[in-house]
Symmetry: C2
């Protein structure tokens, strides 16, 4: 019987339920959509692929799925970036080892999600004298993702960011930059016939972790050597204390809801 | 020599400097303004009156000042409100005892600020069967304040809310109501030729406390028996941990600055 008998049950149901809620409330997916899921091998994007692959009946929407993995030319000796920059990858940009790709490919195949891997020479593209940094890597990969989507007729790109990512980004921008800014749950590109969606936006990381454990969704990422953003780690810890307690999920979802409505009542000048 | 020799020096200078900064950056006071300061007897509004009374040379603006104190018909046996409501008074709506009024009057006279006291029967005005609550009290007092200002030709009403009040209100609304909402630093009323200003908006409470101690600015309020909002107290404690550290003031001012600019970059839908 092993571990399976003692695993938390219902974790998968929670993920499915809150993914459906996000999709329905924000109209993230429409009939006939062709959705490209950006997978890194990390648990978040893998759980995203799993959830979207089994939610067609619950959503009562017909949509196509495919997954794309972007490998980069990192290596272990890449060393310090000298800059933390945009860390929306959260240090999980993949080095694209064969082992990673195989595991990922196998999992996606089990779920009926076609898989493609493309290679982007992020480091090689750096201009003379420039150092590698998260912002550069992120923009390069995002550009290629968008290009692939447009060229292959996908109208939606799904990313695996979750509630904690969004709340952390919001607080980091609020406290460090002094701006009201986070990650959009739905972003329509002006110049391209593509929208970005984040269907896991209502899920806390711990709920995704529990689901991944319950459904044997392996973490297969060979993670980026440019590592974890220490500011984000610090903020994560502060938020855990600030919003801590049994109702932390509710508090975070209320914050998310505030970001959506964009009510501007009595913020500053009238 | 007593305590004065050991008091923290410069607390008054900090208050003056950050009050000037708020006034100049947000254009809170203009040449010829007639400013009515709402004083409760609490340290915040008293420090506000002190600061505005001595800052004309620094601001190089001519303005008139007067102070108003609103007494209400509370008594100690008033008991529980049954509702926390709007607690922007922070439990310092004055019971208006003679002792309070005398102390306040004396201090304001020393600073050259004419003083008026008006009585508002907040409890008596309650409709049949209704219980006293902070929201009712607040709206009654605000209405009378506005009425007095308009009838007596004041174009500005100055309130003593500080940075911590604003940040707390912001977080309470964010986490409890799910809205982006705080206290405006400058609020122009649409229906009346009056604006509300909060010149202490850049100051943390501890800076005001230090200034009050340094300048013998007595707390004279006989405070409201409807007491302290426990949600606000809880939030104050959470914020102290969240934004804690040497740079807490800087973090809070950056949050304030975010509320001002109202940039809406990537909050939710495009």
């Amino acid at each position: 019987m092993g571990n399976r008998f003692f695993r938390k049950t219902g974790a998968g149901e929670i993920v499915k339920k809150l993914t459906v809620k996000a999709v329905m409330e924000r109209s993230l997916i429409c009939e006939g959509d062709r959705i490209l899921i950006a997978v890194s091998g990390g648990k978040d994007s893998s759980v995203l692929a799993w959830a979207l692959s089994c939610l067609r009946p619950a959503l009562k929407i017909n949509y196509e799925l495919a997954a794309i993995h972007i490998s980069a030319d990192f290596n272990d000796s890449a060393g310090d970036t000298g800059s933390e920059g945009d860390d929306s990858c959260r240090g999980r940009a993949s080095t694209g080892s064969d082992g990673c790709r195989e595991n990922l490919s196998r999992m996606l195949e089990e779920w009926g999600v076609p898989f493609t891997d493309i290679f982007v020479p992020v480091v090689d593209r750096l201009k003379e004298g420039k150092k590698m940094n998260c912002y550069w890597c992120s923009t390069q990969r995002r550009t290629e993702l968008l290009k692939y989507a447009v060229e292959n007729g996908f109208n939606k790109i799904a990313l695996g960011h979750h509630l904690d990512d969004i709340i952390e980004t919001f607080f980091m921008n609020l406290c460090s930059k002094g701006t009201l800014s986070a990650m959009p749950i739905l972003l329509k590109y002006r110049k391209y016939p593509v929208s970005l969606i984040r269907p896991l936006a209502l899920l806390e990381e711990k709920q995704i972790i529990a689901c991944a454990a319950e459904h044997d969704i392996l973490k297969t990422a060979c993670t980026c050597p440019y590592g974890q953003n220490s500011k984000r780690r610090d903020m994560r810890s502060r938020i855990a204390d600030f919003a801590g307690g049994e109702d932390s999920g509710e508090i975070k979802r209320r914050i998310l809801s505030a970001l959506k409505t964009g009510e501007r009542d009595y913020l500053s000048e009238e």
